[in-house]
Symmetry: C2
Subunit: 154 residues, 2 copies
Amino acid sequence: MRTNFGAKPWFYPLPVLIVGTYNPDGTADAMNAAWGGLYDAGKVVLCLSKDHRTTANILARKDFTISFADAAHTVSADYVGMVSGNSEPAKMQKAGFHTSKASTVDAPLIDELPVALECRLLKVNEDGNIISIFLLCRRPAAECCGPVWRMHPQ
Amino acid sequence: MRTNFGAKPWFYPLPVLIVGTYNPDGTADAMNAAWGGLYDAGKVVLCLSKDHRTTANILARKDFTISFADAAHTVSADYVGMVSGNSEPAKMQKAGFHTSKASTVDAPLIDELPVALECRLLKVNEDGNIISIFLLCRRPAAECCGPVWRMHPQ
């Protein structure tokens, strides 16, 4: 017997995407993007509202990073999803995130999150979504992030 | 120190999407779709090659279901991703999957997989990807599928 829960966006499991961009003044920003994922071969789609600072930053510099939040950084990942860089200049400091410039794109990597994709805007598609290619996947040695790669929790 | 792994499609965690459709003769088919996810509010994107039977079935009937594979059905979920219904008429039986007709769409639910979305084709977008709305999320009582909802394995 199945229960009808209505039209709920219940996909699981889903990655927690932390999108890193540079602001016009060169400071780093990050947001938690609920809707995004792989798109065709070698591409990523992000469904972001136009009012996000991240959206403006991506359109301006064309580049961004996607880091995958892990359990150890739940509070920081939640914070950057709740607070806008438009209203909180010290967002990254308050989140407890530090950044380093990515090697292939003009965007910040989050030092605290071990695995990241370096992405470049390809286009905004007919539905207003950001389609990018990804240039690089970075992660540290396997022993640093074993648990986060487990797909099936037991 | 981060290692460069090249342009790898390493998103994690990701759901294992089992897409259920009806063949022209009314028998059920299912495939494991690697690229797909939430798209805007209340929509789903599937990036499927045109040569899949599933793609033809969706274009013909407009309807499909997405079930989320769990650890208990790893072998079946892998099988429907490796074998095409175009060449194996007994694909579903060999996978060990049984189906029931969904309530809101003309597509089969996989009896063995507890949580599913019932989806209707909205359009094929400019990149050839299937954009659908989802009409219904079905799942059994919480006690039946607790572990699969845990996002952060410990």
